[in-house]
Symmetry: C2
Subunit: 224 residues, 2 copies
DNA sequence: TAGATTGTTAATCGATTAACAATC
DNA sequence: TAGATTGTTAATCGATTAACAATC
């Protein structure tokens, strides 16, 4: 991803770095809550099981979080990363589909703590409509557009049945959603400028299975 | 990951390749169910949004799925990949923690279809114990060891509260579990030969946020 | 045969790690 | 000062892509 900073200088941030930024922020918030004021690249990297030089290399794309000789100031670093990642202001999101998975997402307290307030839950099941989860009433799907426009929602999670995944996604995009967190096994067809993140549950189990299988047959492995 | 094949030849399979194997299998099973008999690297790669040469390169580590000039035979490729990934025989797994997330995982029909039968659900909440999900009764956590040993379970998903995540993981490992699918935000400390896969829900939202934020400010981007 | 396809190697590209001067 | 630390560049490592002979 190529981006331009405030001074107009263009630079390219590797995808691998982008994927690590949330992990850094995650750990730093924990440290902050624990009252830690300073952290070195070595400490922070170790807790994330990566090399310190990799962390400094990542930070170097954005530059100037500290000075040579001084460790990082946690209270400075947290807001700096929040701005880079785009969670310096709260980023509201909605969940479409209030089955078990949808409700699990809604109940996940960490989202709010990390700057993602839940502002809407939608489902078409009459038994669910009206029920409150974390203070949010489940609304019928036909209300999606209204809520999204009113609350200026940019992100939505989809946990609906496969059969209605595509049409749900289209409704969301039409209403203004820019990023979709797709928990269905469907390949959504959406305009190129819409970011889709697919969470494929079963592939996680398969990766685990592959790796543990190798470990059950030591004669088949030789770790280096 | 370095492995040795049946002829005793050692070779190293890149992690990136391992991560793609389940995706290949996933698509191929869909094709098989749709009655498709043959597929070229080009077709299969396109549906996964990767290059055909990458797919052939990946397959080349395991070798011999087809012959030059002939596309792949779906009915041959599926079992071959299943064996490589380690799902040629059913791989039973259990879910510990029957809250919304746990129940969502239990209800996910695709696991069974992909070779991962659910054989146990555990929770300590008296209101949940005894309830059946997909024919499986929720049992108290103290029963974990018995079930795992009896059914020879190697994989377990943890969706318990953070506070008891570590002790739950230890119980599982002591009972014989080799791979843990960790849905808690806790860094589990376990023996090195135990494979842990962490699913960090909040980082998914953060990645989405980063990318959509850039797209909202076109002046900050220049995609190449 | 002509067109399509695989297996396989080489070339390119990207990501990680090491090294170290500058600094506290 | 001595030890620890960052920012930054160069070196290494790994992953992707291109190219093409062999084959159907």
């Amino acid at each position: 991803m190529k981006i331009t900073n405030k001074k107009g200088k263009q630079f390219r941030v590797p995808d691998a770095t982008i994927r690590r930024l949330p992990l850094y922020l995650d750990k730093l918030i924990l440290l902050q809550q624990a009252g830690v004021r300073e952290v070195s690249s070595r400490q922070l990297a170790m807790s994330l099981d990566i090399k310190a030089s990799q962390l400094r290399h990542d930070f170097h794309y954005f530059g100037g979080f500290s000075k040579p000789g001084r460790p990082y100031d946690v209270d400075q670093l947290v807001p700096a990363l929040e701005e880079i990642i785009g969670v310096d202001n709260p980023v509201p999101f909605v969940v479409v589909g209030a089955g078990h998975l949808g409700q699990a997402l809604c109940n996940y307290a960490n989202f709010e703590r990390q700057g993602f307030p839940l502002v809407g839950i939608f489902d078409n099941d009459p038994d669910l409509i009206g029920i409150k989860i974390r203070g949010i009433k489940i609304e019928p799907i036909e209300n999606i557009a209204t809520v999204i426009k009113k609350k200026n929602v940019r992100l939505a999670a989809i946990t609906v049945p496969s059969l209605v995944a595509q049409e749900t996604a289209v409704k969301l995009v039409d209403a203004g959603v820019r990023g979709i967190w797709n928990y269905t096994p469907v390949d959504l067809r959406l305009p190129k400028d819409i970011i889709v993140r697919n969470e494929r549950l079963a592939t996680g189990l398969m990766c685990l299975s592959f790796k543990t299988k190798r470990l059950e047959h030591p004669e088949l492995i030789s770790d280096d």
